[in-house]
């Protein structure tokens, strides 16, 4: 049974599409790794609200912090913040390559298609693109890029005039992409995160708990599929529930009795997002301890620095975790487990609620520690959860090693 599953996974791994996706991730990995470094340096070390910046007052004494922050910001915005653009090019290029066709043309067509899809003329005539689609819409980019590429390839095989072979697919892709753009305009206006916060405010504690757990699972599934979910990003501490909690905590001088105990901030961001989605830092530790595959270990080594500050892009692309069926299960189970345990501790009044604001990029278990204004049991719980999380990831790391070994064997035959 396990063997069949192994064989099946290995075969899926060797299909054209999977191979093109994997090649795209390989292309993206170094770019996004450095982008992740830049993002971490800017937002955690140099930005006034960043963790390291706050802890060590870096923004006050560090020379040229603004200039360095600017440089890092530019790098971040042009890499991770536009990740989907690279993905659209990559998938289109490598799909063409898989079919033994000219990659550059298909790549450019894919790029063009995605630029058109995400164009949103908001500011006075300057090219302006949907931030959501650019930074969190990698799945869409892969789909758009893949189909653009397939279309371009199919024309290359046809019998029509040589000029038309290129012009016609580009024309069709342009038109379809523009129509997609029109359709997406109305869809992207939803303010999901604030809606989540207001749901929590409106409903009973138990309903809110189920809702937060559900939304947490949804966020991780979407994140595994390279789409931004309802809880993506850092907690803002300015939504109604957080404001209410913070006000109550400041009023009474502690955070034991706050009105909204189970929210995305108190559970998801405080306990289920160490190192980014899917408790990524636990996967890194698990790989470094248990994996024998050199490439995986290298990627994990490189990803430690950003992941400490909850930046997970490098791991998502490098391992890759994205679309990887092996890691889907722990990627969902681990954060869910953390949230449930934390909720139990909260409901039993063993720990206070994380109600105070936490700086950007605070490392894993320290989030809830700062959020509760230094409750030691909360810190110990966080560390304990992290250990369990590593153990949960362990068998999946082993499985992943075996599958890539198997896939290698099939390829060789």
């Amino acid at each position: 049974m396990i063997n069949r599953l192994l064989n099946f996974s290995a075969q899926v791994r060797n299909t054209k599409l999977a191979s093109a996706v994997r090649n795209t991730f390989t292309l993206l990995f170094p770019i996004m790794l450095l982008g992740g470094f830049a993002e971490t340096i800017k937002f955690v070390f140099l930005n006034k609200n960043g963790y390291m910046s706050q802890m060590f007052g870096i923004y006050q004494w560090f020379p040229y912090d603004k200039e360095i922050g600017w440089v890092m910001g530019v790098i971040f915005h042009c890499t991770i913040d536009m990740i989907a653009l690279y993905a659209a090019f990559g998938i289109a290029y490598y799909t063409a390559k898989e079919y033994q066709k000219e990659g550059a043309i298909a790549g450019v067509v894919g790029l063009l298609a995605y630029l058109i899809v995400s164009f949103q003329p908001l500011g006075g005539g300057i090219p302006n693109f949907s931030h959501f689609l650019m930074s969190e819409g990698m799945l869409f980019a892969l789909v758009v890029g893949y189909f653009s590429s397939r279309l371009t390839i199919s024309f290359e095989d046809s019998q029509i005039d040589d000029h038309l072979k290129i012009i016609l697919p580009i024309f069709i892709v342009m038109l379809l992409a523009a129509l997609l753009n029109l359709a997406s305009l109305s869809l992207l206006r939803l303010e999901i995160p604030t809606y989540v916060a207001s749901f929590v405010v409106k409903h009973t504690q138990f309903n809110a708990l189920l809702y937060v757990l559900g939304m947490g699972v949804l966020t991780n599934i979407l994140s595994w599929m390279a789409v931004g979910g309802p809880f993506s990003g850092s907690p803002t501490f300015t939504d109604t529930a957080s404001m209410g909690n913070m006000n109550a905590a400041l009023k009474t001088g502690n955070s034991w009795n706050v009105p909204y105990k189970y929210t995305d901030t108190t559970l998801f961001h405080s306990f289920a997002n160490f190192g980014g989605s899917g408790v990524m830092i636990a996967l890194i530790i698990a790989i470094l301890i248990f994996s024998k595959k050199k490439r995986t270990r290298d990627v994990s080594h490189w990803s430690i620095f950003p992941a400490i500050f909850n930046n997970h892009y490098a791991m998502m692309l490098g391992i890759p975790v994205l679309f990887n069926p092996v890691f889907l299960v722990p990627f969902i189970i681990v954060p869910l487990f953390n949230m449930i345990v934390a909720a139990i501790f909260i409901s039993l009044h063993w720990i206070p609620i994380a109600a105070y604001p936490v700086p950007l990029g605070t490392p894993g278990p320290l989030i809830a520690f700062i959020g509760t204004n230094g409750n030691w049991l909360t810190l110990i719980l966080g560390a304990f959860l992290l250990v369990i999380d590593v153990l949960v990831y362990w068998p999946f790391v082993k499985l992943s090693d075996r599958i890539s070994q198997k896939a290698g064997e099939i390829n060789e035959n």
Partner: protein, 275 residues
């Protein structure tokens, strides 16, 4: 290393909570807006956008929709450092008519109570467009007294509010206007009130007769500290355009909002908000 971070974090956390407790005492002074009939809590989006244009400390926009069962749905967030957020209270049932205005005043009271609990403030400014002004009047006469000790209403601006519905002349008082006049003594005395009327023709903004707007003086004039009437004409003076009329936005900036701090010399160098 980890131990160092833990203790640095602990120290920072204590310091931060200390600062926040201090900050909690520096209170907000929000602007609370009510749209007119058939309009939703999104009615003032353009107005707020225009107010925030070239503003270094933009106003947050927090919207509340009250369902017919009195449940509240919040959207939007308070921006860090903003002491003058804009709240807009809209109603799922936003129909016209005196009976509905009474209901809406009751619903507004629920939203107002929630805002006072969630956010800390001891004064606020009020703006009502069209029926929103009537809802405010009903609120001030019937509900405000329970807050009056803690929370001061500083200014009220009603924009094109038909105090006598569609009646041009005060000879014919509607039931609502009679009720408002009868209970006027409950309106706080230290309030400054601004009536803004749009005039597309000489006696109407295309929907509400000027006489109906001005009939409101029998409620407020002599009861409140300052009472000013202003009529605007020109482009965007039609009833529905009033909330985005540039002259009215100017009036709001001048009379309703807190005076702005003088802008500091902007440095041309670097300011980037990547968040």
């Amino acid at each position: 290393m980890a131990v160092v971070l833990i203790f640095v974090s602990l120290g920072w956390s204590h310091q931060n909570v200390n600062d926040l407790s201090k900050l909690r005492n520096s209170k907000l002074s929000p602007v609370i807006m009510i749209p007119g009939s058939s309009a939703t809590e999104n009615r003032f989006d353009t107005l707020v956008k225009k107010l925030n244009k070239n503003n270094r400390n933009p106003h947050s926009l927090i919207k509340i929709q009250v369902s017919t069962e009195g449940k509240l749905h919040f959207t939007g967030q308070l921006k860090k450092g903003d002491t003058e957020p804009v709240f807009v209270v809209g109603f799922a049932n936003n129909h016209d008519g005196y009976d509905n205005i009474k209901k809406q005043a009751k619903w507004f009271n629920l939203a107002f109570k929630a805002i006072t609990k969630q956010y800390n403030f001891n004064n606020f400014k009020a703006i009502g467009h069209s029926n929103g002004g009537l809802i405010y009047t009903a609120f001030l006469e019937n509900y405000y007294s329970q807050y009056a000790d803690q929370i001061t209403i500083k200014q009220l601006m009603t924009i094109g509010s038909p105090y006598n519905f569609n009646e041009k002349s005060v000879q014919h008082k509607t039931q609502m206007l009679s009720d408002f006049i009868q209970n006027r003594s409950k309106i706080p005395k230290n309030l400054s009130v601004y009536f803004v009327a749009g005039t597309e023709t000489y006696n109407s903004d295309g929907l509400v007769p000027l006489g109906s707007v001005m009939a409101g003086k029998y409620i407020y004039q002599g009861q409140v500290k300052h009472f000013t009437t202003i009529s605007v004409s020109g482009s965007d003076a039609q009833h529905s355009d009033l909330p985005q009329n540039d002259q009215i936005i100017d009036l709001i900036n001048r009379y309703i909002l807190d005076p702005k701090k003088l802008p500091q010399n902007q440095q041309g160098a670097i300011s980037m908000d990547g968040q």
